[in-house]
Symmetry: C2
Subunit: 489 residues, 2 copies
């Protein structure tokens, strides 16, 4: 056994334990009896303790010091393990424990403040979270930029300056497009109530249509849709609303995008550091292209219209054209998670700018609500009515996730690039989509991106798939063309 | 922090990790996609590795050497931790790994041999399993009796010699009772098909009626009913058969007996070495008294008859008396898990005698099938027709579980003792049962036995509940009275 072999064998067990911890999270959201919460908290702490001990095990450092990579795959394995090890070693155990404790407590305080629309009730806790996360960021940055260090946790290699340039180019075009669309009359939405069993049945058909392998996954209901797990046990959740079947269907397709990425990674990387999606941004590119560029396309919605008519009869939409408009309706609204394809990125850009200002110290938490509301009105054209529709709407900051939001929009940008490349590679894509045939599209994504898992760095993963440098242009061009057509701009 | 505090804190994390491993097992039988089996195997191995490392951690030995117990509870905590540590330290890691490997492989070979009714196809593997388990038993026995050492894994403190005396006293009376009953005409069984949804609904009602706390548990379907977990997350499974609703109902009540034992342990023992059932035999006493002495009683079946009439209408049974006879019908059969209350222990006694002979070397595996068939015919009065109905029917030996079978009958004996004491403590029990009111019965079991968890040694746990020495007499008296009445002997 060489140092490399020892390291990989040790890491494989760590990966297996991380899968178990992930499945415990899945169980908590889907199966766990409500009276088990406290006990579950201790169980989580115990396995997180084991994982932390393994990630900072001195032997990992020793193996890394002498391990030699024989090929590209081995080089990538070592890179990933080194990144994880360096990251874990930089944060003092006491600080990590304090962050875990405070963020666990803060979630409840945030939830109560949100239900009372009282930002001030959350600010003392929020200041503590921010202080600790800045301290952690400083430890990770090691003299470099703190926000970049935070970003690196979710999108290795990304730099805030590059994202600023990209997002600054997007913002005016998105604001203008949004304004033009909302000046036009709204298309009709669906009407009536939609049987839950029928929704879930069609949801499963959609999952399989998009290539989700049910023999290595399962679909359950949960309050918040998510995808969980890697390799051969990748589970998704969805939700239903009686008056809005699109909530279920597009939640499912979105999560199937995440799940197929995990399922389609080369089996040779199973339980290795290459066996999961390479970054949040690349992950989101998969969920978004499945959901939006493919799932909300004119061609595919034509097929879906037929399936919905079969399942639900008349639901107030006359034909495929009206259905396409209903699926892509742009509504005024405050909530990021309910936003349409056009407005979604404006929500993210707002958070990105505010969180960078919080981390740099340019913005104080006491001024955050006003800053949020000013920015919202500037970009969306109307005022936030209450904190639960504004600064208190997302769980991310309360639990210490800074540097996470921009990966959503980066994922959308990457999806725009991938979509442009896919259209060139599969010229008759709309013919396929109009028959509900996703094989060529998802096959192209599998072969050109998904199979590689963590083999290449995130941006390089996209670059190799599209054979060009990723930019924001294809996403913006796509959105402008799509919504100009839909709203006759 | 004293050595005792350090030890308990460390053990608490180990207990939490053991709960996670248990829940992974639950997931495998209920939720896991079939394509995940290989990955799950690695996940199991990883967490078992963590648990083994913690159980043999040198610090545990050091803490045990100096830890001082201040009271009865602390004394019991140390006793349980010391037992687990000594047990883990006695078995060489190489042998433990070999056993894990061989028994994992042997299960598949056994399953195939069973489906081909070919015992000879399994004997080479079985010999290997037996050889390794005897080696392990010798390591555990440390010069003492190997079978007693094996028994100690499941029933701490029990001795084969005591069980032999007890079982030898039971066998002739059971054989005679069985013979007398089977000479009589059989009562009618239920007819028709029973809707699965309605079965599961009544199954849940039964679980709650027997005191199962659904806010700290859940019921799912599985091929084999089981109970899993301790403390505030104790889950059970059941199964359904369209033509046999009793399969579902009594599986549920049986597992609820196990689960309530776990749920009713003093919350002060949560995630401690006292926070689980104290032995297999005591556990089985709870499942059996719930299922048989309470669930199959004349009084309770009267209530159940009404519930079944409400749920299913007419199912071929005219009244409560006929229903009581149908529930307790004694059938000829080969399979232990399908056996009724009367014959069940004869199945166990057969296995107990044969496995002791295998371990002592008095019986060779090559002669096992013939020995099984001879003994079966002697006790049951007819010949085994095929190996899957005989020596190949149970998974226990193929996976190396020797010393486990007798705990089933010990549990039945204990249930007999508890039932006699319960009848004295709750004189109007039948009134309660006839109204479907289990509160007094299960409350008595909770207060006198279940709450103690691992505080007392197994036999002492029973002794304290019944305030006498447990013997086989009450079970035999109960069975003879019940079946004499039912079959008019």
């Amino acid at each position: 056994m060489t140092a490399y072999d020892d390291l990989i064998a040790f890491d494989r067990e760590t990966q297996a334990l991380a899968q178990i911890a992930g499945r415990l999270g899945w169980d908590q959201e889907t199966m766990m009896p409500r009276g088990s919460a406290d006990q579950r908290g201790e169980e989580f702490a115990a396995i997180e303790g084991v994982l932390h001990a393994r990630r900072t095990d001195p032997r990992v450092g020793e193996w890394l010091a002498t391990a030699e990579a024989k090929d590209e795959v081995a080089t990538a394995m070592l890179r990933q393990i080194r990144r994880s090890y360096d990251r874990a070693m930089k944060v003092p155990a006491k600080l990590a424990a304090e962050i875990a404790k405070v963020t666990s407590k803060s979630q409840g305080i945030w939830a109560e403040a949100r239900s009372n629309n009282d930002f001030a009730a959350f600010t003392p806790t929020f200041k503590e979270v921010l202080r600790l996360k800045r301290e952690e960021g400083a430890a990770l940055a090691n003299g470099g930029d703190i926000y970049d260090a935070m970003l690196d946790d979710y999108e290795p290699g990304a730099k805030a300056a590059d994202l600023v340039a990209m997002f600054d180019a997007m913002r005016p075009r998105l604001v203008a497009l949004r304004e033009a669309v909302l000046a036009k009359p709204q298309p009709a939405g669906v009407t009536g109530t939609f049987d839950e069993v029928a929704q879930l049945k069609l949801s499963t058909l959609l999952a399989e249509t998009f290539g989700y392998d049910m023999s290595r996954g399962r679909i359950d209901k949960a309050v918040h849709p998510f995808s969980s797990g890697s390799g051969n046990d990748v589970r998704i959740t969805t939700r239903t609303a009686a008056d809005d079947p699109f909530n279920c269907f597009y939640s499912t397709i979105h999560e199937v995008g995440h799940a197929c990425y995990e399922q389609n990674i080369d089996q040779a990387y199973l339980l290795s550091p290459l066996g999961g999606g390479v970054s949040m941004g690349v992950h989101e590119s998969q969920s978004r292209i499945y959901e939006n560029q493919l799932g909300r396309s004119r061609a595919f919605t034509g097929w879906l219209f037929g399936k919905m008519r079969d399942a639900f009869g008349d639901f107030g939409i006359a034909d495929e054209v009206a259905f396409y408009a209903a699926v892509n309706r742009v509504n005024r609204g405050y909530i990021r998670t309910e936003a349409d394809e056009l407005q979604y990125n404006l929500h993210v850009l707002l958070r990105f700018d505010l969180e960078r200002a919080l981390i740099s110290g340019d913005l104080e938490i006491d001024d955050l609500e006003a800053a949020w509301n000013d920015r919202f009105e500037a970009d969306f054209g109307y005022a936030v009515d209450k904190a639960s529709n504004g600064v208190l709407q997302d769980v991310h900051w309360p639990v210490g996730l800074f540097g996470y939001f921009p990966t959503y929009s980066l994922g959308n940008v990457y999806a725009g690039n991938l979509h442009a490349a896919l259209r060139k590679a599969v010229p008759n894509l709309d013919d396929d989509l109009s028959r509900g045939d996703l094989a060529a599209a998802t096959g192209w994504l599998r072969d050109n991106l998904q199979q590689h898992g963590g083999l290449y760095e995130p941006r390089d993963t996209i670059r190799r798939a599209i054979r060009a440098e990723p930019t924001e242009a294809p996403l913006l061009d796509y959105l402008e063309a799509k919504f100009s057509d839909l709203y006759q701009l």
